[in-house]
């Protein structure tokens, strides 16, 4: 239903001191102050340091920059970081989706406790998570000793990196999927049932596509967090150059060696990766949501 807009001249009756011609008038006070504080803070705390980093990395010159970021040790660190992050994210996809599903669709004793404890990886400082996971998975730890019998080593191997990444990024997928699953219109499922769909086909064709935007958001957050994670990993990783050294640690080591240019270059790679992830997330989500756009 189209409701006819109120006559334009109605605004003429407004108090005269608020008239600002054709421009939309601002009714509420405080824009200069609040925006001023915001821009100052964001400028000082976020933009200035990142700008300084980019400036420092850029001042290297293309050849030096390329030599540092493509060195064998750096490339090995990208490899282990990206592969571990992919594995951790894949694991979280399965576990996070199952967890969200169980929390929304089923009731069982202790559900609220499970729901609350899902946030532990966010609330627990990463260093604490790091030493706890290392102690569990070390060869003499609870899990480590049990796994040793089967010949699987977790601590001080890429598998350990994956475990730490899974732990710290676990809540992302659960917490992005859970509210969408809760708000899912139950009649969609009922409609699919009346049309004869099996559970499997309704889930794959009807429910999963509707979760997709949230799932993609959770996946990319989870992956980005894994790429950048530091505290939880350095304890369990073993930190051997060329095999279990993550990129964030390499940047840190270059810093401790007072090789500031290399630190800047490698940190800039992580920064670029983060921005690419942000952009990819936005594009993927816009695609997944294309059907909500009015044509």
């Amino acid at each position: 239903m189209e409701s006819s807009p109120p006559p334009r001249s109605a605004t003429r009756n407004d108090p005269p001191h608020k008239g600002e011609g054709k421009k939309r008038r601002r009714v509420l006070p405080g824009l200069p102050l609040s925006l001023g504080i915001t821009l100052f803070y964001v400028g000082l705390i976020v933009v200035l340091p990142l700008g300084a980093l980019v400036f420092k990395a850029a001042s290297l010159g293309p050849e030096d920059y390329w030599r540092i970021v493509s060195s064998a040790r750096a490339v090995a660190s990208y490899r282990v970081t990206v592969l571990s992050a992919l594995a951790a994210t894949a694991f979280n996809l399965v576990f996070g989706l199952a967890l969200a599903w169980v929390l929304v669709r089923y009731s069982f004793p202790g559900k609220r406790l499970v729901d609350a404890i899902v946030d532990l990886p966010f609330a627990l400082p990463t260093a604490v998570a790091g030493i706890a996971l290392t102690t569990l998975f070390a060869p003499n730890g609870w899990f480590g000793s049990a796994l040793a019998e089967t010949g699987v080593k977790v601590a001080y191997t890429p598998l350990g990196i994956m475990v730490a990444m899974s732990f710290t990024s676990l809540p992302f997928i659960v917490r992005t999927v859970q509210p969408v699953l809760e708000d899912l219109d139950p009649t969609l499922e009922e409609a699919a049932q009346t049309l004869g769909g099996s559970d499997r086909s309704i889930f794959l064709r009807g429910i999963l596509p509707l979760l997709m935007p949230a799932l993609l958001a959770g996946l990319s957050l989870s992956f980005a967090r894994s790429l950048g994670e530091f505290g939880a990993i350095i304890f369990i990783a073993g930190n051997q150059p060329m095999s279990t050294e993550i990129t964030a640690l390499l940047a840190f080591i270059r810093l401790e060696e007072y090789d500031y240019q290399a630190a800047a270059a490698i940190a800039s790679v992580l920064l670029i990766a983060a921005f690419l992830m942000l952009a990819a997330t936005n594009i993927l989500q816009a695609r997944a949501l294309r059907y909500t756009a009015r044509g």
């Binding site: 009922e190 409609a191 009346t194 769909g197 064709r205 044509g295």
Partner: protein, 338 residues
């Protein structure tokens, strides 16, 4: 497909939504379940679909007891009030969903031919590639109907199908649904709280209140012979006058009228605004409070000498003004024991 409900009961937590409802629906019939909100009409429809299980009683599809058949095997077409179209699928994908998930394999060519047929049937040719958000509410409801029809349901169930639409669109869709029903001849049950919609569309109307069937019959039967004051009031504007009955004669405000079959004692007399006439000569004494002019006539609001307010429709030429004194004449009425 003939459908029979036998003493069906449904309780939610502590609230009993349906009390032992029994109902026969003939093959090819277009039946309306009509009632106010909370009357159990939607619950009955959902039980026929298998979206709710009955706590007691049986539902038969033909001779088969369908009470425990799961929804996905029941073969019903269900149209939801808010369409329930899959937002991530195009119109064509929505319509073919049932065929895609069906155990009966169909070739893609077969499916797209069927989709094209259905789009033609619901008059949405050319909109197959749109997403549900890109079409109007009335169009969405037609897609929902096409989707339900695509799997050749034994029975078509519609839950307040036009409830979310504008008045004009509703009227068009009603006529159109009647046409489609005539064309396909599929047994159809629809739920509505709008008596005009039920009377306009249905072969037979079942009026429900508080989980029970109050009356059922053709639109003519329920309109001409309402079985209770509730039906009388629910079907349209009505005036209530108190009176009394003695030996088959009702007296209201000093006027006596024939009231065959009514028990002696206090009675309520119901008459619709069109069942009353305004007279200068004789009847129940009344004075005009207000005159309301409408495009199709003139309505008087009057008060009887007994202090009861009534509304009546008079021809637009009638010369009358607020404050006039005169008489009410009852042309038709229903008398129920008070």
């Amino acid at each position: 497909m003939k459908i029979r409900l036998d003493n069906v009961v449904k309780t939610f937590d502590t609230f009993r939504a349906v009390h032992g409802v029994s109902l026969d629906i003939e093959s090819g019939e277009l039946l309306a379940l009509l009632g106010p909100s909370g009357s159990g009409k939607t619950t009955i429809l959902r039980m026929v679909a298998g979206l709710e299980f009955a706590d007691g009683g049986h539902i038969y599809f033909g001779d088969q007891d369908a009470t425990d058949i799961p929804v996905r095997d029941r073969g019903v077409g269900f149209v939801f009030q808010h369409y329930a179209l899959f937002p991530h699928m195009t119109v064509a994908e929505n319509i073919s969903f049932g065929m895609k998930v069906s155990k009966v394999r169909r070739s893609p060519a077969e499916m797209s031919a069927r989709v094209a047929d259905l789009l033609r049937l619901v008059r949405l040719e050319g909109l197959g590639e749109r997403f549900p958000t890109q079409i109007s509410g009335g169009q969405r409801q037609r897609v929902a109907l096409a989707r339900a029809l695509a799997v050749d349901p034994k029975v078509l169930l519609l839950d307040e199908p036009f409830g979310a639409l504008d008045a004009n669109v509703r009227r068009d869709l009603r006529r159109w649904l009647r046409e489609i029903h005539g064309e396909l001849g599929i047994t159809t049950i629809f739920v509505t709280h709008d008596q005009e919609e039920a009377l306009d569309l249905a072969d037979r109307v079942v009026i429900l209140n508080e989980g029970k069937i109050i009356q059922q019959g053709t639109p003519e039967e329920v309109c001409r012979n309402p079985s209770s004051a509730f039906v009388m009031k629910f079907l349209g504007d009505t005036n209530r006058l108190s009176g009394s009955v003695k030996s088959g004669v009702a007296s209201i405000g000093g006027v006596t009228l024939d009231a065959d079959g009514c028990p002696d004692g206090a009675a309520e007399v119901y008459a619709r605004p069109s069942d009353l006439e305004w007279s200068r000569e004789s009847g129940i004494p009344a004075s005009v409070l207000r005159v309301i002019d409408r495009p199709d006539g003139r309505r008087l609001v009057a008060r009887t000498a007994g202090g009861e307010t009534v509304e009546l429709d008079v021809p637009p030429e009638t010369v009358v003004r607020a404050g006039d004194e005169g008489f009410l004449r009852i042309v038709r009425m229903k008398v129920f024991a008070a």
